[in-house]
């Protein structure tokens, strides 16, 4: 069985349906990319423009970052696909445990007591 592991293929075994599906998927990916670029620009504008107060801009750009994060994860990295159960579990745990880590390192340093 090892023989064919290093063998290139002459053609693809994809069925027609699969090919169409893939083209669709590709379009979705490109749309997602366009949207990501858009919200990135939005984030930069929110901070760069004088009109928006800092106190409002911060939660807004954090939200945008979260959106972009999920887009990247779910679309570019395919977490939305099936058979990604374990990767999902690992990432969800990772993010879930990151939250207390970041929060405590940020505010629980003893300078202010909570």
């Amino acid at each position: 069985m090892g023989e064919n592991l290093s063998q290139p293929f002459t053609d693809s075994a994809m069925s027609k349906d699969e090919k169409i599906q893939m083209e669709q998927e590709k379009r979705v990916q490109i749309t997602a990319f366009a949207f990501m670029i858009f919200i990135t620009i939005l984030a930069f504008i929110a901070v760069a423009s004088e009109a928006i107060p800092y106190g409002f801009a911060v939660p807004f750009i954090l939200l945008l970052a979260m959106v972009q994060f999920f887009l990247q994860m779910f679309y570019f990295m395919h977490l939305k696909d099936k058979d990604h159960g374990w990767p999902n579990a690992m990432m969800v745990s990772g993010i879930f445990l990151s939250a207390p880590t970041v929060i405590s390192l940020t505010i629980l340093l003893g300078e202010v007591k909570f």
């Binding site: 592991l5 374990w86 880590t101 405590s104 629980l108 340093l109 003893g110 007591k113 909570f114």
Partner: protein, 625 residues
């Protein structure tokens, strides 16, 4: 492309062990390395206890004592307990899930060698002006560039290197358990030891990464002048404590969960009953792991993070008692109504239960944040964790050792000597540590190299030290047992000498390199037991007898680890007074070895080799004959 011929050429034994990727051989390596480090750290404990035997004793100085406690704690946790646990995980997990090897045999070897060279790097500190001396917690600023000496660099880089080894091994176990299970082995048929291995590995992935980050910060502080912990320049010393304990608390569960797993295998085997409340046990494991990440501030109650934070983390800590309690009672009720055989393995496993509770309940006492202001950094805490670690982890490891030894080495350990070890250990341990609870309460802080006369601490410390000698005797008897049994014990040739219940007992003893001639078909929890009752006593094969495909050995794990070792040493050399060789050169050489080996490994496509079916048949026949 693949090399289909059988490797029959006789390699030298040494080369064989250096290049092996066989999980069973790596298990033996882990066992050996872990045992050596355990004895080393145990002897340090002995020295510490001798120093504390009398008030104002001068056996060692304060400096040496600090080096001893630091190395004792660090070695015990990272280089003794962890590899001993890994030894069993390596040996047992692939067998229990019916796999031929782990998912990444190469990475498995890599993990061992990196861990081993990391340990070596840490131990080298003795030859360069003394060990690290800031406690295993390595708090800054005592360990920062201003107050810590060269030993700290060995701590930081030694742990950094060995941590990488542990991390890659953890990833490997996760993938193995998720992807390599035999047909029919669903997650809810997974033996509990595999479950705890899986959860422990997940904890490793999430806990050792922050540790790596934290150690990197200290290294940057000490070698490159980073200002993370220098308060005058905007740094903060509490930062390190958070990072350390974000790692440190999960670390203690990393150690204890596999012990739980071992207990969950041994108790059913010798009670001849299935594990009581299997599902609850699995979920309790998951809940413990999850909560284990939410409680780290309980080590920092006195640091001054504030009352709300303290309360929240205190309550979260207490909550861990609930899932742990579920486990305790499930074990008790597994024995209840069973037919218990008491041999050494079962003796250790069953007495684990009450002893662990003794340590656990003091943990809950510590979790009461305001009262912890009393206990914190006293011998009460020392007593708490040694109760859990020795009454829990060490007893668990002993149980695992006596239980799996016949499978690993093809002969039993001597039972009489085993019993002697157990009783000596048990008595010595209670003598050493029970009294330390009281010592803590009458005002003995931990990490003190001496105490004064007339404070009422002398007698109790003496008792404690005598207990340590008894424990030392137990360890010596255990070593004698190994040697004795190797010569005097009868060979085990049956597959299932204990009448145990899980898959590892369904293959030949000693286990062939491919583990299973045919991958078994699993039909139930405790498959071996199931087939005995509902089938003909043999596992049904899931595939016809055929050629078996196995991975090739490789020297690269060893060289990559060696390169990391050199790199780490090079970085340490930056802080040496008069390095003979330029540190940068050493670091770069190390880097070249690491990346060169990785490169060479990656460009060579190695598809392993095939064991022809004739040889498999031959070995099966040999067993019958």
């Amino acid at each position: 492309m693949a090399d289909t011929t059988v490797k029959t050429s006789e390699k030298s034994v040494l080369w064989d062990w250096l290049t092996t990727v066989d999980h069973k051989k790596l298990a033996v390596l882990y066992l050996l390395a872990g045992a050596l480090f355990f004895v080393k750290a145990g002897i340090m404990a002995l020295f510490m206890r001798i120093q504390l035997m009398f008030p104002e004793n001068t056996f060692v100085t304060g400096q040496t004592f600090n080096e001893l406690i630091t190395m004792h704690g660090t070695i015990m946790l990272f280089l003794a307990a962890t590899p001993l646990i890994f030894a069993f995980m390596n040996f047992v997990v692939p067998l229990q899930i019916g796999a031929r090897d782990v998912a990444f045999p190469f990475v498995n070897a890599l993990g061992f060698w990196i861990f081993f060279f990391g340990g070596l790097l840490l131990s080298l500190s003795w030859f360069f002006g003394g060990g690290p001396d800031a406690g295993w917690t390595n708090y800054v600023p005592l360990s920062s560039r201003e107050y810590g000496h060269l030993g700290i660099d060995f701590y930081v880089l030694g742990l950094q290197v060995s941590g990488i080894g542990t991390l890659v091994s953890g990833i490997n176990f996760i993938v193995t358990i998720v992807n390599m299970r035999a047909p029919g082995m669903t997650m809810m048929r997974l033996p509990l030891f595999c479950w705890t291995t899986l959860v422990t590995s997940i904890l490793i992935v999430f806990a050792f990464t922050p540790l790596a980050a934290g150690l990197a910060l200290i290294m940057l502080d000490r070698v490159f002048g980073g200002q993370f912990f220098i308060t005058e320049l905007g740094g903060n010393v509490v930062l390190w404590q958070h990072i350390f304990w974000i790692f440190g608390h999960p670390e203690v569960y990393i150690l204890v969960l596999p012990a739980f797993g071992i207990i969950s295998e041994v108790i059913p085997a010798f009670s001849r009953k299935r594990l009581f409340g299997y599902t609850a046990m699995v979920f309790a494991t998951l809940v413990i792991a999850f909560l284990g990440f939410m409680v780290w501030v309980h080590h920092m109650f006195t640091v001054g993070v504030g009352p709300i934070a303290n309360s929240v983390f205190a309550i979260a800590t207490m909550a861990i008692a609930v899932p742990t309690g579920i486990k305790i009672f499930n074990w008790l009720f597994t024995m209840w109504g069973g037919k218990i055989t008491f041999n050494t393995a079962m003796l250790c496993a069953s007495s684990f239960v009450p002893t662990f509770v003794l340590g656990g309940v003091t943990g809950v006492m510590l979790a009461m944040a305001p009262v912890d202001h009393l206990y914190h950094d006293t011998y009460f805490v020392v007593a708490h964790f040694h109760y859990i670690i020795i009454g829990g982890i060490i007893l668990g490891l002993f149980a695992g050792l006596f239980y799996w030894y016949p499978k690993m080495f093809g002969h039993h350990l001597n039972e009489k000597l085993g019993m002697l070890t157990f009783w000596l250990m048990y008595i010595g341990f209670h003598m050493t540590f029970f009294i330390q609870h009281i010592l803590g309460l009458i005002g003995m802080p931990r990490r003190v190299y001496t105490y004064l006369e007339g404070q009422g601490m002398a007698t109790m410390n003496m008792v404690s030290t005598i207990g340590t000698f008894i424990m030392g005797a137990a360890v010596i008897v255990l070593v004698i047992n190994h040697v004795y049994s190797a010569y005097k014990s009868e060979k085990v040739t049956v597959r299932n000498p204990w009448g145990a219940r899980t898959l590892e007992w369904s293959t030949q003893t000693p286990v062939p390199e491919y583990n299973f001639a045919q991958t078994p078909q699993v039909r139930s929890l405790d498959p071996v037991f199931y087939e005995k009752v509902h089938g003909d006593g043999n596992m049904k094969p899931a595939e016809p007898l055929d050629d078996i495909h196995m991975p090739n050995g490789s020297i690269y794990p060893f060289t990559i680890a060696l390169g990391l070792f050199i790199m780490g040493f090079g970085i340490i050399m930056f802080n040496m007074d008069n390095p003979i060789i330029p540190p940068l050169a050493v670091t770069i050489i190390g880097g070249v070895v690491v990346f060169g080996s990785m490169f060479l490994h990656s460009i060579k496509e190695d598809h392993g080799y095939n064991i022809p079916v004739e040889r498999v048949k031959e070995e099966l026949d040999k067993e019958v004959g």
